[in-house]
């Protein structure tokens, strides 16, 4: 699914990622943990194609080099980023935005646009599945949403767009336990043999609800340690300083 080799990324001449390697197979869920400033969000941005970074190294997604592919096309090919801070877009209806987005993805896959009625059916089904309030759909995108609502909205979008590679960028930050459970349930119910997840998190807490196949520790722009769920438990006890 995703093959990252010797990835270096810098912004404004500041090196952030320094030779990062990671390989994710279909169906796997990898967690990336690391202290503040270790480069976690940069990794999410670089994978989704955000501009402004100077990049070297290999980024292969489904056998294709991603380096020259712009953000929107990566999204259409099935890379989904659940944002740490989903931005507010005033005046844009949440449901209309989702439909526009879904149709862009469908079009790239050679599928027909979804009609309004089928879309409403789909979106209501997913909203209920996630135990979310339908009213959210008619509100302006993320405007006045609570932190939890914003994150739930990200998970709803993930469900609707049905991507291949899902990057969760500190989706657990700022969530109360109920919202955290909804997010985790959304992720768990989406897991199948074709989808891969890259879960970026600061705390071990989320991994009590989402069971990772692999855990990596990112420090100073590199993966310094990889392991299984136990590594996360160990981190919880010793902190990042205990890793070397």
């Amino acid at each position: 699914m995703l093959e990252i080799k010797n990835l270096n990324a810098s912004i404004n001449n500041k090196e952030i990622l320094k030779g990062l390697n990671i390989s994710i197979k279909p169906g796997e869920l990898h967690a990336i943990m690391g202290p503040n400033g270790s480069g976690k969000s940069t990794l999410a941005n670089v994978l989704s194609g955000k501009e402004g970074y100077k990049i070297s190294g290999e980024l292969n997604f489904l056998g294709k080099n991603l380096n020259e592919i712009p953000i929107d096309e990566r999204a259409q090919k099935g890379i989904f980023l659940a944002f740490q801070y989903p931005t507010e877009i005033p005046g844009v209806n949440t449901s209309n935005f989702l439909r526009t987005s879904l149709n862009k993805v469908r079009k790239a896959q050679g599928k027909k646009e979804i009609d309004a009625l089928s879309f409403i059916k789909l979106v209501k089904e997913k909203t209920n599945e996630l135990g979310m309030d339908e009213k959210m759909l008619s509100r302006q995108l993320n405007v006045g949403f609570s932190g939890g609502e914003k994150k739930k909205n990200e998970i709803l979008q993930m469900k609707i767009l049905d991507p291949n590679l899902i990057i969760l960028d500190e989706t657990d930050s700022g969530l109360d336990i109920d919202a955290l459970k909804i997010v985790a349930d959304g992720v768990n119910s989406s897991r199948d043999s074709k989808k891969s997840f890259l879960v970026i998190t600061h705390y071990q807490r989320l991994l009590n609800f989402i069971k990772p196949d692999f855990v990596h520790v990112l420090a100073n722009g590199k993966i310094v340690k990889s392991g299984t769920k136990e590594l996360a438990m160990q981190l919880e006890k010793t902190g990042y300083k205990g890793i070397n």
Binding site: S48, D72, A75, T87, I89, V105
Partner: protein
């Protein structure tokens, strides 16, 4: 963006020219030109006298120059003041007699005039340079007593109404361009809605400038009699030319007791090329009088075209409890300039006005909101709410807000809110990450920014306007 170069070269969709033989007035501004126009329109003597009075006033009137966008001196002797297709000289009696080239022109603009294809629910008056080509749904409207016809026809057939109301909102002596228009106006629409009648369809005029070196001086007069309602929409396009062309219109609205007029504009005159060569000077005077009690006038404008847009659709709130509204989107890209806003003059008691202005500036463009709220001494318990939002795209454009606020009594309130923001990188990234390309993302965000105004447009035109908002900004973010 890799598409940017391509997009910047995307041509103005309505920039074509119709090759047609014209009848023109002699070049230049003179008594002869005015007599020529009056004669060719078969006007009665009172109309010619009115025009000449305006012309004499013009001779002692000075062009204003306080506006922000400056422009090179216009040589008024180097313009044609009347140009019309030759085939229109012997007024065609039905659409079958209209030159097919003209019908084709409007088809290309998306305004079919044929009975079979005409827009449903919208009656259209099609004005080509200085003459009205056709008006649809006339018969159906006549049955309700509604008059919707070219103003040149109204001058002949409904002289009493025209005499009573023409110049009653914008006097001949108002200001240079209004005076110029009064002297040389050629065509435009006339609307009269009889008492207690709700106009059953949208009325619409489509203005097309075609001939070169020609100014267009449209004159529109709308009267809503007691207890009536009308929604009117105008659209405008022009060919791509290297010279600037002048469009100086006067629009007067009169709402009597309990009447309501909703006036919408989708202005897409040729904006000039990306280096700022060519384009229309859109210097327009629009004013509505809420003359009766409980009357209402609402202006909605989507201004995306023209090299320079300079206009302030205004409301004079004379009647007690009358309401004035102004909803505006002004988009300027490349080298376009806009200085637009409104005037709300509160005279009657309990009058209310609302101003929502959205200015979007991209490229090297400059966008000014200028607005006056004047609550008179006797306009007790009146209210105004103003909201001006500006959105900037890039580092080379400008946005300015110039409010003039006068409150002459202590029982009235005025609220003014203004914001200026830049298009947000995070919003663009978010949309891109959901599969929208740069142009689509900009269009979505800007349409969201303009939503409060767009939703004021009649349904039939809202979709078109949304697309136009996107197209006007193509290539502006890279």
């Amino acid at each position: 963006m890799k598409n940017q170069e391509l997009d910047q070269n995307k041509e103005y969709k309505y920039g074509f020219t119709t090759d047609i033989e014209n009848v023109k007035a002699p070049k230049g501004l003179s008594e002869e030109t005015i007599k020529f126009i009056s004669k060719i329109k078969k006007e009665p003597k009172w109309m010619l006298d009115w025009r000449l009075k305006a012309y004499n006033r013009l001779k002692v009137s000075k062009e204003p120059n306080w506006q922000k966008p400056k422009y090179p001196k216009i040589d008024y002797q180097d313009l044609y003041y009347y140009s019309a297709p030759k085939s229109m000289k012997d007024k065609p009696k039905s659409l079958d007699e209209v030159d097919p080239k003209l019908i084709e022109t409007y088809n290309k603009l998306g305004i079919p005039l044929n009975e079979q294809k005409k827009l449903s629910g919208v009656a259209v008056d099609a004005v080509f340079d200085s003459v009205s080509v056709a008006t649809t749904f006339k018969g159906e409207l006549t049955k309700k007593g509604i008059i919707f016809c070219p103003i040149s026809e109204a001058i002949q057939k409904h002289p009493d109404l025209v005499k009573k109301y023409l110049g009653s909102v914008i006097p001949i002596s108002d200001h240079y361009f209004a005076t110029l228009n009064s002297a040389v106006f050629t065509d435009g629409s006339f609307v009269y809605i009889p008492p207690n009648t709700r106009c059953p369809m949208e009325l619409s005029t489509y203005f097309r400038i075609n001939a070169a070196e020609t100014g267009q001086f449209e004159r529109t007069l709308i009267i809503a009699d007691k207890g009536s309602y009308v929604s009117y929409l105008e659209g405008c396009t022009a060919p791509m030319r290297d010279e600037n062309q002048l469009h100086a219109a006067n629009v007067e609205l009169i709402a009597l007791d309990d009447a309501e007029i909703k006036y919408s504009t989708v202005q897409n005159w040729y904006p000039g090329d990306k280096d700022g060569v060519g384009g229309i000077y859109n210097f327009v005077t629009k004013r509505g009088a809420c003359r009766g009690k409980n009357s209402k006038i609402s202006w909605t404008q989507v201004e995306t075209g023209s090299a320079i847009t300079w206009k302030y659709p205004s409301c004079i709130l004379q009647g007690d409890n009358s309401v004035g509204e102004f909803y505006s989107i002004a988009i300027t890209n490349n080298h376009q300039k806009a200085d637009t806003g409104t005037k709300m003059i509160h005279l009657g008691k309990n009058t209310k006005s609302k101003i929502i202005s959205k200015g979007i500036s991209a490229g090297k463009a400059d966008n000014t909101y200028r607005g006056l709220v004047d609550i008179g001494r006797k306009a007790l318990n009146s209210r105004n709410y103003t909201q001006c939002d500006s959105l900037l795209m890039g580092n080379k454009c400008g946005a300015h807000t110039v409010p003039y606020i006068k409150n002459k009594n202590s029982s009235s309130t005025i609220e003014h809110e203004a914001t200026t923001s830049k298009i947000n990188e995070d919003q663009l990234f978010y949309c891109n990450q959901r599969g929208l390309n740069q142009e689509e993302a900009v269009s979505l965000i800007v349409n969201g920014f303009c939503k409060d105004v767009l939703q004021q447009l009649p349904m039939e035109f809202a979709v078109e306007a949304q697309k136009l908002v996107g197209i006007s900004l193509e290539g502006s973010v890279g």
